[in-house]
């Protein structure tokens, strides 16, 4: 019994050692050296210029969902840095329906700007409260819960205000991006329709 335990332990140690040493011994190629000739320098400058030109030069919004921060930038310049709230990642199921409350990632565009938005509660909002969703629009509309403005960036997602300012900085929303009133007003006044939004 003891010998068997010892054998298993020895084999395990060897496997662990092997796994730890693999990165040292296995690889496919070595880094290529490049000479510093005039041609290479010129090519480097060309590529650097193209890379700089590829960066967004106009106003854009950048949202960091890990840190819950929203930035309004023009190129390298940060014009506004705001604490926000993004999606909770929670999943709600009801029968054969389910909703996952995540803020989408990728590139989007501000497609609408709404003043004093009214929230039309979707079915999941009723289900979360333990209530049955109404069959029509009666009882679905709530005012003064989305702040002064709502900026739509597609598929029903908005950047809007919130009553729950103490929850800013946390992943608590159903996918939309919430901002404090002061930041929302500044953002809305600064960005035209068509402004790019990058979320990661």
């Amino acid at each position: 019994m003891t010998r068997r335990v010892f054998t298993v332990a020895a084999v395990t140690c060897l496997l662990v050692l092997f796994a730890a040493l693999i990165p040292r011994f296995l690889g496919t190629d070595s880094p290529s050296g490049e000479d510093d000739s005039q041609a290479v320098r010129e090519q480097r400058l060309k590529l650097q210029k193209r890379l700089l030109a590829a960066r967004p030069q106009a106003l854009f919004i950048l949202v960091d969902t890990a840190s819950n921060r929203l930035y309004l930038r023009r190129g390298e310049r940060v014009l506004l840095e705001a604490v926000c709230s993004t999606g909770s990642g929670r999943r709600l199921t009801s029968g054969d329906k389910s909703w996952t409350f995540q803020t989408p990632r990728g590139q989007f565009t501000i497609s609408s700007k709404i003043s004093n938005p009214v929230w039309r509660k979707p079915d999941w909002a009723f289900l979360e409260e333990g209530k049955a969703p109404p069959k029509d629009n009666r009882g679905r509309f709530e005012r003064d819960v989305l702040g002064e403005y709502a900026l739509g960036f597609g598929d029903g997602y908005f950047i809007h205000g919130t009553l729950y300012t103490r929850m800013l900085g946390r992943n608590v929303t159903h996918g939309c991006i919430r901002l404090a009133s002061k930041d929302l007003v500044q953002l809305t006044r600064s960005v035209p329709l068509g402004t790019k939004v990058y979320i990661f």
């Binding site: 880094p31 890379l51 890990a66 390298e76 199921t93 409260e129 333990g130 990661f200």
Partner: protein, 197 residues
Amino acid sequence: MATSFVLLLLCLGMNTYTEQWRDTCPLSVLEYHLTLSGEPGAYLHVFDTDLAVFVKGLEVKRWQILEKRGPRLAPRLSRVASWSSAIPPPRIVVQAEYLQENPADTVSSSDEIVAVDDMPETFTVELEDGTHFLVTSRASLGMAGTLRRRLFEMRTACSFLRARLRGQPASMMVLYLEKSPAQHLYWVLQERMGVIY
């Protein structure tokens, strides 16, 4: 006035420092950045001592790599194929049938949200070219955590060997990060995300 001038120079210097890699990196790296900056999503660049997140060619986040183990390679571009961890992050699923009626409250309590602090510290990222990155933090986990991590590392090594046997030009790298950067990196990962390494 003099202090402000010195601070301004320092800030300019710091900004130049983070961009200096463009003056010394192989041309292929610049070409990879050009390719990925044309895409809508974020992408990663694994430097020797840092790991950075870029969006449209702009660096938006950078974390220090405490230690990087692996073969020295010519720069490559690949994409995230999958990622897995020793302890998967929580998935909060709520069934509406079990929710009791209560006043309107869209605020979630702490145990009903998934945040970056819930992300694992040890995980593997497999790229489409078969390369495996084992990312781990050096935080002390105690004996049970260390054993679980070792078993996970063995699984990663086996997966890497399978990729090599398939004929893929795979390499295996181990990245040691602090706990928070490792968790942030896990959070940022997306399928088909570009990785320059």
